[in-house]
């Protein structure tokens, strides 16, 4: 009889009746063959693998992370409440000791969703990992968390949300942004002035295979995790590094994904992208489940998989090793880098244009963070989109110091509706979300 070595929770929610549009990669069919494979392998019958029904997230859960414009109902469908809810269910099961580890095999994904949400970008509306994480922090008092994003696309939404948070280590491994959406995630993106080094990007060249990705996990990610000592490790488990993925250019295999999962030992994995719905997802998901449960996966392989055909060349290997060294160096020198960044004038400010490819929206954002050594820093974001006008979003971080709280309230209270269409305050210490009334 098969017996899982780690009691593993699974939320499987394929949303068989939800699609962005009929021919969109994020459509009803996406997890159909994964379901067939998982059911046919009998994974849910294995002693120690437990399936949970997803909960729904609440508006409060969403507003703990996001500023949705004009409100959460406008940017979320039922399916988003369920997929974020599925992640939350797994997180709760892990925190309450019902399972040792868990995997939320849900859709739609979330890692391209920023703190401010005007609509969908990169097939994502709300950030399902962040919603889960902030719930777990609130409910169970977890503090230090590491997110390892192994989707082929840079997890720019998650990066945006945790850019100023020194207690959340965000590591994204992805295909080089010069060759793939969203075109970000370069080595020099290392976090805001209050959280320098807590964001780590490891761009890998196209055609990286098992060897390169597993090298990066083993030699770069694992030592950094050991240094950071998180209480929880979350894996944003995108599956589009697979050699058969139609919209990326990497050469990772199902067994490679299983091996990655075994090395990483994440407490919680959440499905992100991955659109080779027949050639990759059934096998990758099976591999991740087996690896999380501590079961043998040596017999797992895609039909006709030939490792020789997807082997990376020497120059790719060299390039990856150099990238890894630079990442490690930056991590080790993060205090020095922080000092340098702080010396730059207006280091607490940035202005960006953000494109929502899925909903075709242009957002212009200017952000100011209070430079602070005691907390993540009060944050104000002015955001305007071509469709919705300008808003002010003020964020008080979870462990805000007194000065940052005062600064944030001053921003919020002094803002006027003549200037902003909507004015919000996300008060994390009080777990409150406020929108300023027009006649107040």
């Amino acid at each position: 009889m098969l017996q899982a070595k780690n009691k593993t929770g699974l939320v499987f929610f394929p949303a068989f009746d939800w699609a962005i549009s009929p021919t969109h990669p994020e459509r009803e069919e996406r997890l159909l063959y994964t379901q067939d494979q998982v059911f046919e392998e009998g994974l849910l019958d294995i002693d120690g693998i437990v399936e949970f029904k997803p909960d729904l997230v609440t508006i409060k859960d969403v507003q703990r992370v996001h500023f949705c414009l004009p409100d959460p109902w406008a940017v979320m469908t039922e399916s988003h409440f369920i997929s974020a809810g599925g992640a939350k269910t797994i997180g709760m099961a892990v925190m309450e000791g019902k399972v040792d580890r868990g995997f939320a095999l849900v859709r739609p994904p979330g890692h391209h969703a920023n703190r401010v949400v005007h609509g969908a970008r990169g097939f994502c509306n709300v950030n399902i990992e962040a919603i889960m994480i902030e719930y777990l922090r609130r409910a169970y008092g977890v503090d230090r968390i590491a997110i390892v994003d192994t989707d082929c696309h840079h997890g720019d939404g998650t990066q945006d949300i945790y850019w100023h948070d020194p207690d959340t280590l965000f590591i994204s491994i992805h295909q080089d942004g010069r060759t793939l959406y969203p075109g970000s995630g370069f080595l020099n993106e290392i976090g805001g002035p209050n959280a320098v080094g807590a964001t780590i990007n490891i761009p890998l060249p196209p055609h990286t295979s098992d060897e390169g990705i597993l090298y990066t996990i083993k030699e770069v990610v694992m030592p950094i995790l050991a240094d950071f000592k998180p209480e929880l490790i979350i894996n944003s488990a995108g599956q589009d590094n697979h050699y058969s993925d139609p919209i990326t250019n990497m050469n990772f295999s199902a067994r490679g994904y299983a091996e990655l999962t075994r090395m990483l030992q994440a407490d919680i994995a959440v499905l992100e992208g991955g659109y080779s719905i027949e050639g990759a997802l059934p096998y990758v998901n099976t591999g991740i489940i087996l690896a999380m449960a501590g079961l043998d996966f040596h017999n797992l392989a895609e039909p006709n998989y030939d490792p020789e055909r997807y082997r990376q060349n020497l120059s790719t290997t060299n390039y990856i090793e150099q990238t890894g060294m630079r990442v490690l160096k930056a991590w080790q020198e993060r205090l020095k880098l922080k000092k340098l960044i702080r010396e730059e004038p207006e280091c607490g400010q940035r202005t960006r244009r953000i494109y929502y490819d899925t909903d075709n929206i242009y957002e212009t954002q200017s952000e100011t963070v209070r430079i602070c050594d005691d907390c993540g820093g009060a944050l104000r974001i002015e955001s305007a989109s071509d469709s919705k006008g300008s808003i002010l979003a003020v964020h008080i971080p979870r462990k805000a110091c007194k000065a940052c709280k005062e600064q944030a309230y001053q921003w919020y209270e002094s803002a006027e509706h003549s200037q902003f269409k909507q004015i919000f305050l996300q008060d994390r210490p009080e777990d409150n979300f406020l929108e300023k009334k027009k006649n107040a």
């Binding site: 949303a15 939800w18 021919t23 019958d45 369920i82």
Partner: protein, 563 residues
């Protein structure tokens, strides 16, 4: 007239129902070692003095197959499996003659590795040496493409008495369960065949040459002939007999909890709008998880003869049973003894019950009567806790569409039906603990046998259609057909219902009263690149478990000329 007979662990119950209601009801002791004699004596007793010409059929539920599985008395069976990549099929070994061969299909049923026919042939000799007469074959994804299983069966058929093919036993996806199910069918087959042929012969000799039907764990029956194709479908039919017995009197709407309180256990099930809820997968028995369709039931070790324990001042009932209640000569006190002390049952030796309960009463510092009440309360509390646990399990069943998750509401039973020997006593107490109606099922002591007699023939069909591959497969029905590219969900539903009708008739259903329904119908556009290459369609249809047409539940009588 119809005979219904249900073999239980302690008693075998039989009823004879006619146009004027229940003609006869009997209870005979079950002799596990001599089931054949038990069944015959039950039938003899219930038909004594009745003209056999008026009897139209006999429906039997026996513990035959379950016993040989639980007692591990299965004959040698040869199993040949092919899995390809994934979990190692060696993990799912069953029996002593288990051979894994090369050959693989992918999740859409496309061949990714040819079947190693030579490896199948090579297995024959070893099987024969091991005394194997019956074999099973199962491959991964055979319900999407049964070719490999069929080819294996062709190779093996000349050498063995019978070959069971995994894809013909269930349309559900689950390779390990398919292996176990195929194995159990092959293993149970010879015993099932010998037993029922002997029963049929003996009945014929007594002038009772009536069609036999056999109850299944899904609350439906199948004909004698078709049972040889699915002999494992006779395993664990007992709980469904009771549920079907309650069904006749169940409310037509809302959720109802059915409790069958026996000597050793309480078996629970749920009816939704008068239809029993089916388990999501299949029965589990001994080490085997199967694809054998069954009602969702939950069993706890609390019954009239459960042993009472008192530890550190805490009273608990069961889950063990030492024997009969003390009142009837047993050695340990039971809830039945508590009933006796409270004057809720007559007969037996009350002094022995008093003797059994006295030390408990003393330790609890209660009067004898109050101790009996405490025992009774505790037994009922445990039953309620079991019911709560089952409802939690049912309500946490995962769903896979936004619609189901969003619209699905929690099932909360508002009605409770109790049957089994101590039903009236328990119902009285449960009424004070349950938020809703509590009723005792009429004929509670033989309602299970009545359930056998009245259950209709059930069947289910699963159809996969792939318009890119241009093929529709209902593996369980030996059906595979080329389809045009414009084949759609509606066509698939029609086809599934047609296949279901054929299957139901083969199993002995009444063609005039087929209650066919589609339970699942999905259609997925298959997009490759930016083009729709076809549709992937899945349809499931069933005859839901229920009572035969022509039974009048109000009068409790049959009202059909041909019955």
């Amino acid at each position: 007239m119809i005979i219904g007979l249900d073999v239980g662990g302690t008693h075998t119950d039989a009823v004879l129902i006619s146009h004027s209601g229940i003609e006869k009801e009997v209870k005979v002791p079950t002799d596990e070692g001599h089931l054949f004699e038990t069944v015959l004596s039950g039938i003899e007793a219930v038909t004594a003095g009745v003209d056999p010409k008026g009897i139209r059929r006999a429906v039997l539920s026996t513990t035959l197959a379950a016993n040989i599985v639980v007692q591990q008395k299965l004959p040698p069976v040869g199993m040949i499996v092919a899995g390809g990549p994934g979990l190692d099929p060696a993990e799912f070994r069953v029996g002593d003659h288990y051979v894994v061969v090369k050959g693989a299909l992918d999740h859409r049923g496309r061949e990714i590795e040819a079947l190693a026919e030579d490896q199948v042939e090579a297995a024959i000799e070893g099987f024969k040496k091991g005394g194997v007469r019956f074999v099973g074959v199962a491959t991964k994804f055979s319900v999407h493409n049964p070719d490999h299983e069929k080819r294996m069966a062709e190779i093996l058929a000349p050498h063995f008495e019978r070959v069971f093919l995994g894809h013909q036993l269930s349309g559900n996806l689950n390779f390990p369960r398919r292996i176990a199910t195929t194995y159990l069918n092959a293993a149970v087959y010879p015993i099932h065949r010998d037993f029922f042929e002997a029963v049929k012969k003996s009945l014929a000799q007594k002038g009772l040459d009536v069609p036999l039907r056999i109850l299944k764990p899904d609350g439906g029956n199948m004909s004698f002939d078709s049972s040889f194709d699915d002999p494992a479908q006779t395993i664990l039919s007992g709980p469904s007999a009771s549920v079907m017995g309650a069904l006749a009197y169940a409310p037509r709407s809302g959720a109802t909890l059915v409790l069958d309180i026996g000597g050793t256990t309480t078996d629970m099930a749920v009816l939704i709008d008068g239809v029993p809820l089916l388990a999501p997968q299949g029965i589990e028995i001994g080490p085997f998880k199967t694809l054998i369709r069954a009602l969702q039931t939950h069993s706890i070790g609390v019954g009239g003869d459960s042993t009472i324990h008192l530890e550190d001042g805490r009273l608990t009932v069961g889950p063990d049973r030492t024997g009969r209640a003390m009142v009837y000569g047993g050695s340990a006190p039971t809830p039945t003894d508590a009933f006796c002390v409270l004057g809720l049952i007559n007969g037996g030796d009350r002094d022995r019950s008093v003797q059994g309960l006295t030390p408990i009463a003393q330790k609890l510092g209660l009067s004898l009567e109050n101790a009996a009440v405490a025992i009774f309360d505790q037994a009922c509390r445990q039953i309620m806790a079991g019911a709560k646990e089952m409802m939690a399990r049912i309500n946490s069943k995962p769903v896979y569409t936004v619609h189901e998750l969003w619209e699905g509401s929690e099932i909360k039973p508002r009605h409770m039906m109790v049957l089994g020997a101590p039903a009236p006593q328990f119902a009285e107490k449960l009424r004070t603990m349950f938020d809703g109606n509590v009723t005792v099922v009429p004929h509670w002591h033989v309602a299970n046998a009545l359930g056998c007699a009245l259950a209709r023939t059930t069947s289910e069909v699963t159809l996969f259609a792939d318009t890119a591959e241009q093929v529709a497969v209902a593996a369980g029905e030996h059906f595979s057909r080329d389809i045009p590219t414009d084949f759609n969900l509606e066509n698939a539903q029609e086809l599934a219902l047609q296949l279901l009708r054929d299957k139901a008739l083969r199993r002995g259903a009444n063609p005039e009263h087929l209650e066919l329904e589609v339970t699942e119908a999905y259609q997925f556009n298959m997009i490759r690149g930016f083009h729709t290459i076809g549709k992937n369609i899945r349809v499931r249809a069933q005859i839901k478990p229920g009572l035969i047409e022509g039974y009048d539940p109000v009068g409790g009588k049959l009202r059909r000329e041909d019955l």
